[in-house]
């Protein structure tokens, strides 16, 4: 089967690709830098680590790198340019040594299989929990044995011996030492018994007892495992994926057991944010009993790293294309073609001049500023002059808006120069672009912002841009996408995403209404002539009602706000809102700010930067649903 694709950007869920070569070719190893940071502070190994993100964040891909197939591919292709970087990262993580020997056996288990169905059995809660633990134990054992065989190709189950302490595991109906085949059979029988209970149409009379302990982690430790009469030298890493697919009680009992037990096992748990409870999402975050990597939060704090990663992903994917378009970033023009928009830019600054005249023509206060700006005309391009004039317009509005006694002295030019900062420049550019229909959403940096720190979201936009590049190539046109082309394509995608939400998300009607109202509100706040929340508003923070009725976040439990909570939970779980913590106000008070996902900002012509938000009471937010 061909390992090259026409448009590799359209391949999603690369962790599901059967070929490790293809997966690793598309995988950007820079994402493993997050794990290196955890390793440096001693929180990566011998620990329970949660890897969380919204769908498409890259959790499963991180786990797949540690599976035997991937490790073997890297070990056998250390010098291959495609894999060298990934190999070096894994070396830093002590998963592979310098000679290519594999030091870690990743054991992957998906929680999407059958566990939740146990809840439907007509048995007691205790029995359900025991069956659930039994199934986990069985699968941990089976998956570990499979993983060991995958790593050691000349080994079969008979050659694997488990020699645990009979004293420690006296409650099990197996005796040690036991070979892999017998252990596999024993675990498989447990799995079959659970399935029999699940598949039975009638009440099960000989129900499996189940297990009250998750002993399999301690059992399948390297110290207990021998191959060919020698103890194994690889560490075992247990990886659970999609734990959000467990039932609420299953997930709770699973995590509680692991965190309370606190044994020094390598256990990684990957899950979507939707699994998290209100306290995690809406409350202030208290001390945790485990370590967490929230991918989106990490990218938020180190956006330059995300840029490197997605740039790497983009270039790798472009190289894999069967068409002769071997790069991605190189064909995205970062700036507008000023000549094309010359007329509009002139119209823009002429309008600004008219507006400024209307605002400030009645007194001398701003004459110094106005003259200074006018003098710049010959030294600046039309674009620069238009931005400058728009900035001036904003500053005049701000000044006029301040309620202060003014003696109407002419304002010094130094004051103007001080206020002409980059943030104001960005706001001015935003205003004049939107007002004059000049492309604003273009360039690789904006594309990275549009991803809202989610790799799949980046690919969904980049995929269409790349498709357009391919179309241009085959039509014998210049491959480059100019700013106008990019914006047109990106807006079409955002529009399409908006329309499909109705069938994708729970509580879709009220959620869409809420987002629509939030976007409209943000537009209103952003486009005030004095740009008070420069560079623009696209988020909100929830203010606790000060009517004395609620303490802290207890308003969330008021049934009045059930629908609002459902909307907010949905928005967070499906990455329609992004949560960020910021400090503002008295004594640097901490706020959880909920920002619109950047693609929604694009849809509603809002700026892509973070920072601008408004405080809202829950009752005000509730009105956005009605």
């Amino acid at each position: 089967m061909s390992t090259r694709y026409r448009n590799p950007f359209k391949i999603r869920a690369t962790e599901k690709l059967e070929s490790e070569h293809n997966f690793l070719r598309m995988f950007s190893p820079h994402i493993l830098g997050i794990l290196i940071e955890k390793n440096k502070i001693g929180k990566l190994w011998d620990n329970i680590l949660f890897i969380r993100s919204s769908p498409g964040g890259g959790k499963t891909s991180i786990l797949k790198v540690f599976e035997p197939g991937s490790l073997l591919t890297l070990s056998n292709n250390q010098s291959t340019p495609d894999f060298k970087e990934a190999f070096n990262y894994l070396k830093s993580l002590e998963a592979i040594d310098g000679s290519g020997n594999i030091l870690l056996s990743g054991v992957y288990m998906s929680c999407a299989r059958n566990y939740e169905v146990i809840e439907d059995l007509e048995i007691s809660e205790g029995q359900k929990k025991n069956l659930f633990f039994a199934l986990i134990n069985a699968r941990v054992i089976i998956s570990t044995l499979r993983s060991l065989i995958a790593l050691n190709s000349n080994v079969d189950l008979e050659k694997i011996i488990l020699n645990a302490s009979s004293f420690d595991f006296s409650f099990l109906d197996i005796s040690f030492p036991i070979n892999g085949a017998k252990l596999f059979g024993w675990a498989a029988n447990i799995e079959k018994s659970v399935f029999r209970a699940i598949d039975s149409f009638l009440p099960v009379t000989d129900l499996l007892q189940g297990h009250s302990e998750l002993f399999s982690f301690s059992l399948m430790q390297p110290s207990n495992i021998w191959i060919d009469s020698k103890p194994i030298t690889t560490n075992i890493l247990f990886m659970f994926d999609d734990t959000h697919k467990l039932s609420k009680s299953q997930r709770q009992s699973f995590i509680e057991y692991l965190t309370i037990k606190r044994a020094n096992h390598n256990i990684w748990i990957a899950e979507r944010l939707e699994a998290l409870d209100e306290e995690r999402n809406f409350g202030s975050y208290q001390n945790r009993d485990y370590d967490e990597i929230n991918l989106e939060e990490i990218w938020q704090s180190t956006s330059s790293k995300l840029k490197i990663i997605v740039a790497n992903i983009a270039e790798k994917r472009a190289l894999m294309s069967t068409e002769e378009v071997r790069s991605f970033q190189a064909y995205l023009e970062n700036n507008i073609k000023e000549a094309t928009y010359e007329e509009k830019l002139i119209r823009s600054y002429e309008q600004s001049l008219v507006n400024i005249e209307k605002l400030a023509g009645f007194n001398q206060k701003f004459s110094g500023w106005i003259n200074y700006v006018r003098e710049q005309k010959n030294q600046l391009t039309s674009l620069e002059f238009a931005v400058l004039n728009r900035q001036l317009e904003i500053l005049i509005h701000r000044n006029i808006g301040k309620s202060q006694l003014s003696l109407e002295f002419e304002l010094p030019i130094e004051e103007l120069k001080q206020k002409l900062d980059s943030e104001l420049g960005v706001t001015a550019l935003y205003f004049l672009s939107i007002e004059n229909k000049i492309p604003y959403y273009h360039g690789f940096d904006n594309l990275v912002k549009l991803s809202s720190y989610n790799i799949e979201q980046f690919l969904s936009f980049a995929g269409e841009l790349f498709e357009s590049m391919l179309s241009r190539k085959i039509s014998d046109k210049l491959i480059n996408l100019d700013a106008g082309d990019q914006e047109k394509i990106l807006k079409k995608i955002a529009d399409s995403k908006w329309k499909e939400q109705i069938r994708l998300i729970p509580y879709s009607e009220i959620t869409i209404k809420f987002l629509q109202n939030l976007a409209t509100f943000s537009q209103k706040e952003t486009n005030k002539p004095n740009a008070p929340y420069s560079p623009g508003v696209n988020g909100f923070a929830i203010k606790v009602p000060n009517n004395g009725l609620y303490e802290n976040e207890s308003w969330q439990e008021d049934p009045t706000y059930t629908s609002l909570m459902n909307v907010l939970k949905t928005c967070l779980a499906y990455n329609l809102l992004e949560k960020r913590t910021t400090k503002q106000g008295k004594e640097n008070q901490q706020w959880n700010v909920y920002y619109l996902n950047r693609w929604i900002c694009l849809r509603f012509n809002l700026p892509l930067s973070y920072g601008g938000f408004r405080h809202k009471y829950p009752m005000e937010l509730l009105k956005w649903i009605k």
Binding site: E464, E467, S468, L470, I474, S475
Partner: protein, 366 residues
């Protein structure tokens, strides 16, 4: 590389903008990869995209849009995989229910007691005394046998059976402790569009593959050398006769039923018969084609009377540009396009004045 050239040609032919290329190209590649590239009658070096580009280039600009939209929206392509699927479910869907029904009747058993009927000796006998014959090689009788669990000794790829083979079949039947003849016969074929190949009136007489078969079975055609084979193989007095198509037009099945009924009446012969298909093609497809006036007009412009040959005249042919018997089917079979399909799809005359998108095999033989 070749595909890229074909795509370039297609883009020029259709005069697509970049936006249109972005939409259409992935679709064409998907259609080609999924099914259309497997068409077995393309010339060497030609695949779907190349053929599409060549086909569309024959039309003028407006006509190309009509033709392309027809391919995108209306074409039915039955792939090899789909036929294999139909073959593999044929026994379970069509044959076994008949066997079970017969066994239930014989046992005087309630028809829904399937397991009981299945395990009965009546069922085993009825099944073993069934003969499965292919009408053409499209019947894939070998695959049917393997997916049905029926014996090799009750299957043959044609209804023209030699005397030696007849003796073999009867000998094996006897060995299985079922002396005597076969009680049921199943004629299997892959496709019928009009039914005319199987039964029709020619020179005032009924003819066609099925009619010939019946004439042989009931010994009404003593002129053939092996005329005594089928009567010796099959129990004429108590015969159940079944025809099964993998794909068929509903109208053609109804037509065949009528023809066989007429044959029965004319020849005063009684036997049970059924005609069925696993996948029916409804009349709505023909109606859709006929209501597309642009498409009909296109067909009229490019398909010439030269299409009418000695096979074509066996069916209705006043509107010859609608295909054999004016069926106007938007249908391609992976191994060949039936002549009931719109000729725009398959016609490729000797003088090469027109080239169908999926050329039919008759062209290539010549």
């Amino acid at each position: 590389m070749r595909t890229a050239l074909a795509e370039r040609l297609l883009i020029k032919v259709m005069n697509w903008s970049i936006e249109e290329v972005t939409i259409e190209r992935p679709l064409i590649q998907a259609m080609a990869k999924l099914k259309y590239d497997e068409y077995q009658q393309f010339s060497p070096g030609i695949r779907f995209t190349e053929s599409l580009a060549q086909w569309l280039s024959q039309f003028n600009e407006d006509e190309r849009k009509v033709a392309y939209n027809f391919i995108k929206s209306n074409l039915i392509f039955i792939s090899n995989q789909q036929i294999v699927h139909l073959v593999s479910i044929c026994f379970a869907e069509k044959i076994n229910p008949l066997l079970l029904a017969k066994a239930a009747k014989q046992k005087n058993e309630l028809p829904y007691r399937v397991r009981k009927i299945y395990n009965s000796k009546e069922y085993q006998e009825i099944k073993r005394r069934s003969l499965f014959l292919g009408i053409s090689d499209g019947a894939k009788i070998d695959l049917l046998r393997r997916t049905s669990g029926i014996s090799n000794e009750q299957v043959f790829s044609s209804y023209y059976i030699s005397s030696e083979k007849k003796d073999d079949l009867l000998r094996e039947l006897q060995k299985d402790e079922y002396p005597g003849k076969f009680n049921s016969v199943y004629l299997i074929d892959d496709f019928t569009g009009s039914g005319l190949s199987y039964a029709r009136i020619e020179d005032g007489k009924q003819t066609g593959k099925v009619i010939k078969f019946l004439n042989l079975v009931f010994d009404l055609d003593p002129t053939t050398r092996d005329s005594l084979v089928l009567p010796e193989l099959l129990n004429k007095e108590n015969l159940d006769f079944h025809i099964i198509f993998y794909v068929a037009r509903k109208a053609s099945v109804e037509y065949l039923q009528e023809q066989i009924e007429n044959w029965r009446i004319t020849n005063h012969i009684q036997f049970n018969f059924t005609i069925d298909a696993i996948q029916f093609i409804g009349e709505n497809f023909k109606e859709e084609m006929l209501t597309n006036s642009n498409l009909v007009s296109l067909s009229k412009s490019y398909i010439k009377k030269a299409i009418i040959d000695r096979h074509f005249i066996k069916g209705k042919h006043e509107r010859y540009y609608l295909g054999f018997d004016e069926c106007a089917l938007p249908l391609i079979l992976h191994h060949n396009t039936p002549n009931n399909a719109l000729p725009l799809l398959w016609w490729y005359p000797e003088d090469e004045t027109f080239r169908g998108l999926f050329p039919r095999i008759t062209r290539h033989r010549e």
